[in-house]
Symmetry: C6
Subunit: 79 residues, 6 copies
């Protein structure tokens, strides 16, 4: 696979959150490389509340990683 993740550093928490979304998606891409199949799945899960909650769980987990990598975007705090 081509380079898609060269750093966990982002300028803002929001960019970090968006990186967490990307990480969540990329695990799916690695597991199901066919874009065609993934596109077929999308209309269904994106209208299913429980699937959306599960997606949010994955993003939350990846955001923990990205946030820690950025020291929570705090500069010079006591951590």
């Amino acid at each position: 696979m081509k380079p898609w993740l060269t750093s966990l550093k982002t300028n803002t928490p929001q960019e970090g959150f968006e990186l967490a979304i990307k990480l969540s998606q990329m695990a799916v891409v690695y597991t199901q490389p066919s874009e065609e199949i993934r596109k077929k799945l999308r209309p269904k899960y994106s209208k299913n509340a429980n699937s959306l909650i599960s997606v949010s769980q994955v993003v939350a987990t990846n955001f923990q990683t990205v946030a820690a990598a950025n020291n929570y975007w705090n500069k010079n705090d006591g951590l």
Copy 2:
């Protein structure tokens, strides 16, 4: 998307918890941008105990991140 997350810092744990809720919701917004569809899903999952428990799980995960970012709202403790 417009700026919606400029800092993980909050004044109180309660505001931090509310930010965790917002983070949980925003992952859904990114995944299902249609407000119309999201509104249709709400009446169902908000009356389903298992869905509500899953929501609480996502919030708990995001609250870990927000709490760590705020050093658990402890000032000058030994951490």
Copy 3:
């Protein structure tokens, strides 16, 4: 919402565990503000083993946060 979470500090691990339970419940309260609906859901999920296990998962996640906030109730340990 009225103030309900002013600190993550508790005197004992048990109080911390009970705070973790409260955090788990409050995410549900924010998501489903109607006490009437929540009360209707209770008899069902509280008799469903899988729901109870899921509740315990949420509490475990929140307890991680509360325990870390209290430095695991250790005084002057090496952490």
Copy 4:
């Protein structure tokens, strides 16, 4: 509720694991206080593989907390 959790410290990792099991159970006790109902649920979920895997997930999460509280039972390591 009577005192049941006065410390997260244990002498050995195994005792810590057993404490993690207790924490997992106690969240259920708080949510479903009726011992009669809990006993009725047990035969079913304890013979269901997915329920048992979910229990193991809760224990794993609580064991993270207990292990951290005990500094992973390492003495004088560099952490």
Copy 5:
């Protein structure tokens, strides 16, 4: 129960991963002590993709603990 967990330290990451598997299994053993029943469950869940993914989730959680206990098998790094 006989001693089965005297340390979280392992010589290699792979042994640590195998310990994480053992921890995941032992939570099931504590919850369902009957080896006969557990053996009956095995053929089913070990051929169910979702069950296997859930098992992998438990192992991942326990591996976090074991890896932290071993300082990620890094010697003298800056952590």
Copy 6:
């Protein structure tokens, strides 16, 4: 099992993410050693959105471990 995990260190975050995928897969391999059975399961779960989201959850959890082991690929930061 032959050696397959000698270090959690990787050169880049992307390699770390790919290691997280490998860890997620290996827990399945340990639980279901038959390659034949695993191959049969693949077509089904890789076309099921909820299964793919669950896979992404496992990868996210393992990526937390790998990222921490690599100090988030930050050199000389304040952590």
